[in-house]
Amino acid sequence: MNINLTLFGQMVTFAFFVWFCMKFVWPVIIEAMEERQKKIADGLDAADRALRDLELAQNKATDQMKEAKQEAAGIIDQANKRANQIVDEAKQQAVAEGDRLKLSAQAEIEQEINRAKEELRARVAGLALAGAEKVLEASIDDKANRALVDKLAAQL
């Protein structure tokens, strides 16, 4: 248990190791640790922010989806209404067209009938005249009897 030079030897060694630690060990590691701490804090912040952003985006997306659905439903309703309308209109048009066609066909038929009647009258008049000519076998003035025969034909 002698106190001797070892005392100073240890003091010198101590000083040297403290210097070494102070210069090459402590600052390097503590700086790296602090920087990492900052990085982690930043990362956590960013994650929080991203989470908030995500939530906002999701809310927005949900809203838009709802809107789109409503719009789509509106469009479908409108389309259905329009389709019904078109069908109704088409029906009405078809009925009207049918009526018109029927009317024109009836008119044509009547015209045809009238024409046939006229023709028939004319032919009847001719036949009646020829018959009368043959019956009388006399030369009857065509012009003088024409009015008479026409009057007859008109009565048919």
């Binding site: 001797n4 030079l5 005392l7 003091m11 060694t13 403290v18 060990v25």
Partner: protein, 340 residues
């Protein structure tokens, strides 16, 4: 190794407490001391080669370990050694920030060096007391104390280093305030200056002395208990049922360290195989017991268990002492920075 008679037990203990000294002997000049008597005759002009070698070696180990971690320091994900080193550094940083409020770039690295270095020096206490001295004895080194912190030169040397720093910062920060602190405290009157000076000087000097002697006392006592257990251990080795016969056959009266080394390697091997999953735990314990019994007989087994028990308890002591030295250093330096 000690026999059963008290004389050789005393010799064994004394041998364990003697440093390897190189110094200026009045008769022999500069030489290694042969025994405690010559070492004492050398006086101040001597150096404890073993203490210095182990303390420098462990300091270099500390520097190398932490430097290699520092080289790998990254702001990314830390791994392995860096994790461990950062754990210690964070712990030290927290302790320093708790008790030191000034701004000083020196204090934290100082605290780290003190804590780790003293811990490593104390840790040497946990190695089996006879292992390294016996092995070195074989290559012709007569004395070896492998725990530097059981040497008051080492602990007081570090305490004095701290003391120099305390004085330096007291004068640097407070200037003349430091002198008035020494002279005008606790009685603020000019007539009391001599009394104040005496009291404050004693108080100031008590700090490094208590710092150094506390560590020394704790480690010395711990080492002493290891040695005392080892004497029963060694005595048991002679008396052991199987071991004693074996020793007598192979080594005669003197037990060689090689024998212990072989037993140690066997026990370690068994434990290692168990950890690798090759041997069931029950058989591991049994095999260890058998090896220990062969190694030292049943008494020695008791001694071994006591060594082990004390070592487990001592882990707390060495850590605590390293921590106390560090914290007190920080506190003293903090006091040196603060005006009263």
């Amino acid at each position: 190794m000690a026999g059963e008679n008290p004389a050789s037990t005393t010799e064994y203990i004394q041998h364990h407490l003697t440093n390897l000294v190189y110094g200026n002997h009045p008769d022999n000049g500069w030489s290694f001391a042969h025994g405690a008597q010559e070492a004492a005759e050398m006086g101040f002009m001597a150096i404890h080669v073993d203490s210095m070698a182990w303390s420098i070696g462990l300091g270099v180990l500390f520097c190398w370990l932490f430097r290699s971690a520092a080289k790998r320091a990254t702001t990314g994900v830390p791994t392995g050694l860096l994790n461990f080193v950062e754990l210690i550094i964070e712990f030290i940083d927290g302790a320093v920030k708790d008790s030191f409020h000034g701004r000083n770039k020196l204090v934290a690295p100082l605290a780290l060096t003190i804590f780790v270095w003293i811990f490593l020096m104390n840790f040497m206490d946990l190695l089996p007391v006879d292992l390294i001295p016996e092995l070195l004895m074989m290559v012709g080194v007569p004395y070896q104390k492998i725990v530097p912190s059981t040497d008051p030169n080492i602990t007081l040397g570090m305490a004095l280093g701290v003391f120099v720093l305390m004085l330096y910062y007291s004068i640097k920060i407070k200037g003349t305030g430091f002198i008035s602190e020494l002279t005008m405290h606790p009685f603020n009157h000019w007539a009391f200056i001599p009394v104040n000076l005496f009291m404050e000087t004693v108080g100031l000097l008590a700090k490094p002395f208590s710092l150094g002697l506390r560590l020394f006392g704790n480690m010395y006592a711990g080492e002493m208990i290891f040695i005392l257990i080892a004497t029963t251990f060694a005595a048991g080795a002679g008396a052991g049922l199987i071991g004693g016969g074996l020793h007598a056959q192979i080594f005669g009266e003197h037990t060689s360290a090689w024998f212990w080394l072989v037993i140690f390697i066997l026990v370690c091997g068994v434990c290692w195989l168990n950890l690798k999953g090759k041997i069931p735990t029950g058989r591991t314990v049994l095999l260890c017991m058998v090896f220990m019994t062969i190694g030292g007989g049943l008494t020695a087994l008791g001694g071994g268990l006591m060594q082990w028990g004390w070592a487990v308890f001592h882990i707390l002591v060495i850590t605590l002492q390293a921590f106390i030295f560090m914290v007190l250093t920080v506190v003293y330096l903090s006091m040196a920075h603060e005006e009263h």
